[in-house]
C-alpha cells in the first residue's frame, strides 16, 4: 500500500493482523512527534501497539523503526520483543509487585554505573527519586505510572508505545502526567505512539492523529486537520462533532434542511454531501426583527440546555428553513449575551467552519 520508507528515522507501520474474528488493517507513521491512535474501545488500538511491540504477529505487512525492519511478512523478518527497542506502557502500570522501584526499572538492564546514572536521571525527571526502595503496592496510582514510564525509557528506546497510560488516574493527576509526557518528549526526542479514547487528551497531546474505527485507519493527519476537516461523517462523529447533516450542492452553495449556505474549501464534487460543523464554531447573535438576516444565518429557539461549568451546550430548533443544531457557548459570552433570558436567537454557521464531505452511507458496511 505504501512505498518502503524513505526516511530512516521514525516508525512506519503498514500491517494486517487478526485477533479471532477481528481484522486489523492499519497504516501510519510517526517521526519525531507524538501520534495519537484515537478510537472507541474495540477499534484495534491496543492490537496495533501489540504488533509494534512484537507481542502479536501480523499476517501481512511491514513495520520499520529507526531504519531497522522489525517485521516483514514478505522476507520473514520478525524481531522478538526484546530486540525491538520499544518502550511499552500499558493502562495498568504492570509494575512487578515482587520487586522494588529500582529493580522494576532496571530489570532488563545490565548492572553498570551507566545504568545507575540513567536510573537517577530518569528518577529526577519523573519526580520519583525518593521511591527507589519502595514496593509498587506502597505507591499511588500516579507514582506507579511514573515508574512505568521510567522503566520504558531506561533502555535505549526508538519509540515509546503508550496504551491509555493515564486513564486509570484522577483527572488532576492525568493533567500533571500529560504535561510531564510533553516534557519527556522534548527531553528525549523519541517518537511516541499514544493510544486513547479520550477526545480532550487526543487534542491536547497529538501532533498527528490516526482515527481508528473497526480495525481501519479512517484518517491520519495533523491534529487540526482531523478535528477541523474530518475525512468523513464517521470521523466527524468519532471526533466529537454532533452537528452532522445531509446536504446537497447547488451551485456554489450547499443546501441544508432547505437553507442555502456558503462554504469555503475545495468545491465538492457536487450532488449529495455530508456537512459538519463543530458546536463551538457556531455563533449566536441577537435577533433583530427589523433587519435582514445575513448570510449563513437563521432564526432558532433554544429547546434544551446543558451547563458544563465553563461551557453551555444549547440545542436550537429552527423556525424556518435550517437544521436543528447544537451550539456550545463559553460561560462568559453566555452571561454577556444574556442567553438565559432570551430563547429566540440568530444562529450563524461561519462559512470557514462549515465542513463539506463526500456523502457516506449512513451505516458503513462492516468490511469498509
Amino acid at each position: 500500500m505504501t512505498a518502503p520508507p524513505t526516511t530512516p528515522r521514525g516508525l512506519h507501520v503498514d500491517i494486517e493482523a487478526r485477533a479471532g474474528d477481528f481484522l486489523l488493517h492499519t497504516s501510519f507513521e510517526a517521526g519525531d512527534e507524538l501520534v495519537v491512535l484515537y478510537g472507541h474501545s474495540g477499534a484495534g488500538k491496543t492490537l496495533t501497539l501489540s504488533t509494534i511491540a512484537g507481542l502479536t504477529r501480523p499476517h501481512r505487512g511491514r513495520i520499520d523503526l529507526a531504519g531497522r525492519t522489525l517485521f516483514d511478512a514478505t522476507s520473514g523478518v520478525d524481531l522478538p520483543p526484546r530486540d525491538r527497542r520499544v518502550g511499552y506502557v500499558v493502562q495498568v502500570p504492570a509494575l512487578f509487585p515482587h520487586l522494588d522501584v529500582r529493580r522494576n526499572v532496571l530489570i532488563g538492564v545490565e548492572r553498570s554505573p551507566e545504568a545507575q546514572a540513567r536510573f537517577e536521571a530518569l528518577s529526577a525527571l519523573l519526580g520519583i527519586e525518593d521511591l527507589a526502595a519502595r514496593r509498587p503496592h506502597e505507591l499511588s496510582g500516579g507514582q506507579q505510572q511514573r515508574v512505568a514510564l521510567a522503566r520504558a525509557l531506561v533502555r535505549p528506546t526508538d519509540v515509546l508505545l503508550l496504551d491509555e497510560p493515564f486513564s486509570a488516574l484522577d483527572e488532576s493527576l492525568r493533567a500533571d502526567l500529560r504535561s510531564e509526557l510533553l516534557r519527556i518528549r522534548r527531553e528525549y526526542g523519541v517518537p511516541i505512539v499514544f493510544v486513547t479514547h479520550d477526545l480532550r487528551e487526543a487534542h491536547l497531546l497529538a501532533d498527528r492523529v490516526a482515527v481508528l474505527d473497526r480495525g481501519r485507519v479512517l484518517q491520519f493527519a495533523p491534529r487540526d486537520e482531523v478535528f477541523r476537516h474530518p475525512a468523513s461523517r464517521r470521523v466527524a462523529a468519532l471526533t466529537g462533532t454532533h452537528n452532522l447533516f445531509e446536504g446537497h450542492i447547488e451551485g456554489d452553495r450547499v443546501l441544508v434542511a432547505g437553507l442555502p449556505l456558503r462554504f469555503e474549501g475545495a468545491s465538492s464534487p457536487g450532488g449529495d454531501v455530508d456537512v459538519a460543523i463543530r458546536a463551538e464554531r457556531c455563533n449566536l447573535r441577537r435577533f433583530d426583527p427589523e433587519g435582514d438576516l445575513p448570510e449563513n444565518c437563521f432564526v432558532a429557539s433554544i429547546t434544551a440546555e446543558l451547563a458544563f461549568g465553563n461551557t453551555h451546550t444549547l440545542t436550537l430548533e429552527p423556525e424556518g428553513p435550517g437544521p436543528a443544531i447544537e451550539v456550545e457557548v463559553a460561560s462568559r459570552p453566555y452571561e454577556v449575551l444574556g442567553i438565559r433570558e432570551r430563547r429566540r436567537w440568530v444562529v450563524e454557521l461561519p462559512a470557514a467552519d462549515l465542513h463539506v464531505m463526500p456523502r457516506m452511507p449512513v451505516e458503513p458496511p462492516a468490511g469498509l
Binding site: L55, V86, Y88, V89, F96, H98, A148
Partner: protein, 269 residues
Amino acid sequence: MHASRSTRSSPPWLSLSLLFVLFFALPLVGLVWRASTDGDVAEALTATRTVEALRLSLFTATLTTALAVVLGTPLAYLLATRESAASRLLATLLELPLVLPPAVAGIALLTAFGRAGILGDPLEAAGVSLSFTTAAVVMAQLFVAAPYYLRAAYGGFASTDPRYEAVAATLGLSPWRVFRDVALPLARPALVGGLILCWARALGELGATLLFAGSLPGRTQTMPLAIISAFESSDGLAGAVSIAVVLLAFAAVLLVALNWLARARGPYG
C-alpha cells in the same frame, strides 16, 4: 435492635459449623486417646518397621513433590501461556488422576510399566525391574499426587495478568528470564499451595502404591501401608493407632511448617 443483635450473636450457621468442626476433631481425638490407652507409641517409634516406613514415606513424598515441581512447573507454564484447544485438552487429561480411584491408577501403571505392561519387555531387556522397588513407590505417588501441583500451578500461571509478561518481554528480557523473574514469582503463592497439596497427597498415597509397588517392608511399605499391615495383623487396631498417631504428628508438624513458610514473606516475598 434486640432482634437483630440476637440473630447476629447466634446465627444458625454457627451450630452447623461447630458440628462440622466436631466431625473432624472427634476422630483425631479418638486416635490420640486410643493410642495413649491401647497402643504403645514409644514402642512403635522404635520398632524397625515403623521407623523404616516413616523414613520411606518422608523420603518418597518429598522426592515425588520435588519431581512434580521440577517437571510440572514448566509444563503448567507452557499449558497456561500457549492457549489452544490442544493445551486445554492436555490440561484436562493431566487432571484425570484427580478423579480416578487410586486403585485404578495402580492398575493403569501396571499396564504401562509392569512386567506384562506396554514397556514391560523393553524394560526387562534393559534389566530394569520396577516391581517392589522404591522407584515404583515414587511413580505411583507422582501419578496420583502431581496433578494437584499441576492444577494449582496452571491456575497460578493462567490467572497472572498477561500484560506483566508482555511488558517484561519488551524490556529486553529473554523468554527464560521472563519465566524466572516475572512469571514464577507472580505465581509463587499458587505454586506453594500446590506443593503442599501434592506433598500431603503423596504422603497419604495407598491404593496405587499397593497395586503397583506392593507392600514390602523397608522398600515399598510406606506409612499408610504399614498401618494397613498392622491393622490386619494380630495386634489389630491397637497396633495401627500407634503408627497412625506417629504419622499424624509428623504430618501436622510439616503442614504447619510449610504453611508458615508460604506466609512468612508475604505473597511476593
